[in-house]
Each structure stands twice: as C-alpha cells, then as structure tokens.
Amino acid sequence: MTDGPLMEKVMCSLPPHLTGLLESGLVTIELRSRSRPTNHAMTVYEKGSFRFTIILRSETVRAASEAAIRGLIRHELGHIFLGHFNHRHEECQLPCNTLAEEAEVNYYVPREELEAIDAVASQLLQEFAVQVLGEEKARALAEAGAFHTRAIYPEEVAAQAGLSPDLPPLWRFLHPLLHPLPPGQGGRHLLAGEGQEAGDLDICGGIEVEEGALPEAMGVAAALASSPRGKDALQALQEQPRSWGSGAGKTPLPWQIPSLPNWAQRLAEWARCLVEKEWRRSRSRLRPRLDFLRATGRYTPGWARDRKQGEATVTFVVDTSGSMVTDLHYARPAIEFLLTQGITVRFIAGDVQVEIDELLRPGSPIPDPAGGGGTDICPLVERAVQYSPRGIAIYTDAAIPQWPPRPEGAEVLWIVPHGYQPPYGEVVRWQPSEE
C-alpha cells in the first residue's frame, strides 16, 4: 500500500469534526516510514509553516485499526490543544513532566482507542523482534510476556501521584505531585514493554517546536482552539472524559450561609466610632510604670478604664426602589449585625416616600421592606434629619435624580456601588449582585 491509500485510511478513521479541523490548514497529517516500531506518532512545528504537522508512522497506520489511528490522532491533537510545548512545560525535563503530559492527553482518548493502540503496538513490537532476534527467540520472549505493552492510563498515574479522585488527571495537577520523578521512573513512552528500554519504545514522540518558533506555535494553537472548527474538534475531544470521577464537580457548592455583606463590617465600625464619641471616659488614676514596679519587686496589675455607655443610635436609610430589588436583602443581615453590637437602629426605608420608620433595639423584629417603585431618597433623608441623629448611613444604588442636601449636625456614611461619588460624607462601596 502506498501513502495515498494509507492517508485515505487515516482520513476515513476520523470523525467529521476532526477532519474539519484539518481543513483550516493549521494542522496537517503526514506519513513517514520508520523501520523501528517506535514513535508511532509525533507532532512537529516548523518555523514559518504556521501549522502543526502530525507525523504518523506508515507501518503503524498500515497495521492499525481505525480505532487505533483515531486514538493516535486524538492523542497528538491533545498535545497541541493542551499547549504541551509552551514555557511552563519546557521548564521541567524530568520524566514526571512527560508522564503527567501523557496521562493528561490520554484522558481525552477513549479507552477502546487506547486498547487498540496497545494491541497494534504489541503486534508491531513482536514482528520487529522476529526480524531482529529470529522467530524462536521472539516466540520465547512473547510467551514470557515481553511484548505485552500497556498505555499510560490516566487513572493509574493519578493514583501514583495521590491525586484526589474528585479532580481530573490534568498535567497542572499531576506534575506538582509527581515532581521530581527521577529518570527511569516514567518517560515519554506511551507504551513500553516490560523489560524494554523505555527510550526505545516511545510510541509518541511528543510535540517538538523548532527553535525560535514558539511564538508562532503559541499563536497557531490559540487560533486552533478559538476557531469555530477548532471548537467543534474540542467538543469531540471533550466528549470522552465526561464520565470521569464522581461528577460531583459539576454541581455548585451547596452551602447557603446567610451572607453578611463586606460593607456591614465597615458600617459597624463607623457606627461604633460614632457611638464612642458619646462615651464618657475617665481614668481613675494614671497607669504606673510596670518596669519600675517589677524591678523593685512590687507588681500592681494594670488599671482598667471605666466607661459609661449611653444608648447608641444610628439612623439607617435604605433605598427600596425597584432598582434595589436584588441587593436590598443585604440590609437585613447588616441591621442584625448592628443590633447584635448593642446599637439601636432607626430604620427608615422607602422608594419615593417613607414606607418604614421604626426604631429597632436588639431583639426587635426587623420589618419587611416596602417600596419597589421609583427612586428619590430625599424624603427619606429629610425624615432621618427630623430625629437629629449623630450619624446617618444611607444604603442606595445611587440611581437617584439628585443627591439630598447635606444634613446639618450629622455625619453621613454612603453605601453606594463603584462609580458613584456622593458630594459629601464618607463612602463605602458595594458590589451589585448582578456583577
């Protein structure tokens, strides 16, 4: 059989989306003859070619089943898509790198295709042994299982590395766990007969990029993965490993811890500072120098401050207009948080008019919000000012027609999203939930 029919055999073995990928011209397949049953497949990138070339060994293609050919090409495409030629992969030249790469690539190759590769590689190895050693010796070795070859199966490498079964056996996980794997404990051989030199039996020659061609190769690989034809091929490559592991990774984390927004902590601190200004502090006496006392053998414990705490009240204005509907609920844990600090909250809420105006003390039920219409927080702030508070915290998305005038005698803390700058007062930012 010449290369023409062999190439036809290769193309017939490929599913349509992988053939489509070849149409882009960014990947091509070549057949090359090699006497030794090694490097059955490899990928090269030549400078200026702007395409990856998958080189298949003609003798292997001739003997291989369609599944084995498909598996070999899938394997090589995996190397390209996974970028097994980039800087991070070049950093480690130890077998752990190759072992992790091969395991990762084979993760995308269906099991029957890996087994088909096993079969053809074993057969070719045995045929080669007959040629080199003679029929009798080769038969004896075959009976001893010397030509039994086995692919690098990802689950075995994952187990060797101790990777959690919940995680897919990807290079980026396997390599740090295997590194540094001393030479002789792994290798580029996808299949290696027991008792054979690994280097002699590499079925996959890996991926080689000509010196100085890395930028081009990176770009072509990116183009392959980004293009519509590449995406189809990726889809085909990704069909295989979907059954991997428990599958639990596809479901989101189930915890629903009630959320306390980050700004609540800042609000509490602001309220506490505000309240602290009202506290009367007194020191019963000056603190003695401990070092003196210790040195003289006398020790008197420190003197605590006596604090008298009055009732601390903070006015919390919440915009309940329609645009706040998704973010409004964060006000509740924030109010709860303030109440647990022993801070009394004057809770004022509404959209264009005041709908709720209640004084909440620790233990008080928090009323449900009302509103949902247009926005104008000016009436809410006017109401707050009527109570002559020391501080007013205003929680709004700032989708308002105008900023309310500065309330006299009260400090103001604005809790607004990024991109809005109130004309006065302190500002705390929050993240709208839709982001």
Binding site: N86, E216, G219, G249, L260, N262, G302
Partner: protein, 414 residues
C-alpha cells in the same frame, strides 16, 4: 436564606479539623471558631489536641493585660533588660523545644483588650512574642521542619478589629442540636431535656449570625501556593471548605468548579499573544479569515476576562495590523490590498460575538481613556492623528492603504 446545607454535626467537626491542620501547616492565618458561647468550641479543640497527641493550652484573652498576654521586658535594678514571657508562651516553647506538639487555644479573641491588640497581632502573624519565636517559621515554610505549635482561636459573633479580622480564617460554629444529642449519649433525662428545648435550639440556630465574608488577600494566595499539594490530594468537601475560608464563598465555588472543569482551554496561548502583540500581528497575518477573526475576538475577550484590561488597546491594534498585514507587506500588489480589505471587513462585520466585543472595548475606553488606543495605533506609524488647530487629520500606514485602495477602485471605475 437560612436553610442549612452548611455542614453540621460530625461533618462540620471533620471539616473544621482538616481546616485547622491545613491552615496551621501552610499559613500564618489562624483558624477561628466563630459562634456563641457554650456551644462546644473548647471541647472540640480539646478533643482535637487529644487526637493529635498534642498538649492543650487554653488561653482566655478576655481581660488580659499586656504583660499577662505575651509577657514583658523588665529592667532590673542592675540595669539588665530581662524578657519574661507569659506562662503559656513559656510552656508552649518548652514543649516545642522537646519536639512535642501543642495546640494553643486563644479563647475570647473578640474581647481582647485594645491595648494588647498590636502584640496579639504580631503573635498571630509571626508567632513571636517580644521578639522570641515559638518555632522556626522559615524552616517550616521551606519544608525542613514540621509544625508543632498549632493555633486555634475562638470568638463570639460581633464586630472585630479590622487588622485582627484579616489575620483570621473564620469557621462558623453555630448551635447544633446533634452536638447536644452526642453529648447526651445514653442519658434519658438529657435526651428528654433536649427534645423539650428543641424549638429553642432550632430558633437559636436560625438566628445564628455567620462570620463576615473572608477577604481575599495575599495571605490567601500564600496559603494556596504553599498548600497546593495537600489541597490536590484531599477530598473535595475538605478542599471546598478550606477555600471558602480564604475567599468569599461565591469565588470559592467558582474556583472549585474551575478546578474540576476540563482543561482544553487556550488561555495560556492567548495570554502569550496579548502579552506579545508584535508576535500576535505576525500570527494573525498568516491565519485564514475565520481563524483570524475568532482568534482576534478571543484575544480581546480573554484580556478582559482575565483582568488584563490594560492590554486591550495593544490587542485591538494588533488585530487591525494583522488584518491589513498583506497590504503592508506587499504595498504595490492589488491582490494583497484586496486580501487586506477582505480581512478587515470580516473583522468589522456583524457577528454574534460583536456585541460582547463592543461592550468590552467600550468598558476598556471608559476605564483607560482613549489615549492608550491612540498611542498604540501611533506605534510603528500605523495610524497617527494630528490636529493643528483645525479638524483632526489621520496619517500612517493604514491611511495609505485605504487611500491606495480607494484610488485603485476609482481607476477601475473609470
């Protein structure tokens, strides 16, 4: 809001145990049980110490004065400066020096006296008191020594000093009826009492205030980098729990999902292209039209999604350069001009992803302003804008190509 898929009972204890060990061994963040008093926090930490075969030191920080908390430096009558550490620090050091494990339980951390916050912070961060280290932190960090002193803190829900809060990793420890039954064991009276009070317990759990959402800080990154190997080997639930202590839970969930996602993604390659716009031009110029358009769009979207908005101007201009590259390379060749025009119009035409691209570019302009785009365009004299008093005027390679294409069109029309 308050449904309870949050782990509880033995499950929570198992996860908390894993988190305490992990954080102590791979970080300086202190695992802190956040929950109301009398809910078994101390008992849990004590049993953890027993399981580990470690000594247990219970340090109640409430009301401690500076000298009692960590110790004091004393000037003696003969003018010698003597460092006297607190009892628990001395004890812990003694055990650690002997190679024995110790669990130091810092209780009532929220009630620590403001006067000693600074020294407590130093201890939490460096595990040192008055300049004396409990263990060789460098050796632990480099893997030359094992952690022997484990810190666990506890606090009641409430506001906390901001700096202190950032040194802690909060483990929510709400009221848990299972813990009550576990403690009751076979006692019929105790079980009946729990049943009689079950409504109250359920109410208490409902009202339990969760800890503040953790901030993602450099300390979080440090833990993840140092503990990567262990995280990769531990069961999913433990990994998810630990991640949720190091960052807001939505982000933790996203990380978990990404970890388990398949990896056939061109991110690294796209990263390379957006970081090397000149190489990107070279590659884009050689790609077939569909691949050119798809790669260009992927570059811009990837720059945006990976937080590299400042690279969008260069990526954007490299796409335009890649589009007209045939005409730039073969200026007198009309076919090259036609090819350039075809590529340019393919890039500019309406496509499903165009709206998203437009949004990303608009956001980049609003964040960075138009100047980086103009500066990038002016590089290599691609497009340069002048405004000498009058209307702005464009010059450069792109303008020349457009002019020569227009003139060749006119010639053809004539």
């Amino acid at each position: 809001m308050r449904n309870d898929p949050y782990p509880f009972g033995e499950e929570l204890e198992k996860l908390a145990r894993a988190a305490i060990l992990f954080l102590n061994e791979h970080s300086t963040l202190v695992p802190t049980l956040w929950g109301p008093s009398s809910e078994g926090k101390t008992q849990f930490v004590r049993s953890l110490a027993r399981e580990m075969g470690a000594h247990f030191l219970h340090v109640i920080l409430q009301g401690l004065k500076p000298d009692d908390a960590l110790g004091a430096q004393i000037m003696t009558v003969d003018a010698r400066l003597v460092t006297a550490h607190s009892w628990w620090f001395e004890k812990a050091r003694e055990w650690v020096t002997r190679g024995e494990k110790v669990v130091i339980f810092l209780d009532e951390l929220d009630k620590v006296d403001p006067e000693i916050i600074a020294s407590v912070l130093t201890f939490l961060r460096d595990r040192t008191a008055l300049g004396v280290s409990l263990e060789d932190e460098d050796a632990i960090r480099e893997g030359r020594a094992q952690r022997l002193a484990y810190l666990v803190a506890a606090c009641n829900p409430g506001a906390m000093d901001e700096a202190l809060r950032r040194r802690l990793a909060f483990i929510w420890w709400p009221t848990d009826i299972r813990r009550y039954y576990q403690l009751a064991g076979g006692s019929e009276i105790a079980r009946l009492a729990i049943e009689a009070n079950s409504q109250q317990l359920a109410q208490r759990r409902q009202e339990a205030l969760p800890p503040p959402s953790p901030d993602f800080t450099l300390a979080s990154v440090d833990v993840l980098a140092r503990g990567q190997t262990k995280l990769l080997r531990m069961p999913r639930e433990e990994r998810a729990f630990i991640l949720s202590l190091l960052m807001p839970r939505e982000a933790a969930a996203r990380v978990i999902r990404q970890l388990e996602r398949l990896a056939l993604r061109p991110e690294e390659q796209l990263d390379y292209l957006i970081q090397n716009p000149d190489h990107a031009v070279e590659v884009l110029a050689r790609l077939p039209v569909p691949e050119f358009v798809a790669t260009g769009a992927s570059m811009v979207l990837h720059a945006y999604n990976s937080g590299q908005v400042e690279r969008i101007p260069a990526a954007f201009i490299s796409i335009l350069k890649g589009a007209v590259a045939p005409a730039l390379q073969r200026r007198d060749d009309p076919r090259a001009r036609a090819e350039a025009l075809e590529r340019l119009s393919a890039w500019l035409q309406e496509r499903p992803d165009k709206q998203e691209l437009q949004r990303v570019c608009q956001e980049a302009i609003s964040r960075l302003g138009p100047d980086p785009f103009f500066q990038e365009a002016a590089r290599d004299n691609f497009v340069v804008f002048h405004s000498n008093g009058g209307l702005p005027r464009a010059e450069g390679a792109l303008v020349e190509i457009c002019r020569s294409f227009a003139s060749s069109q006119e010639e053809r029309d004539d």
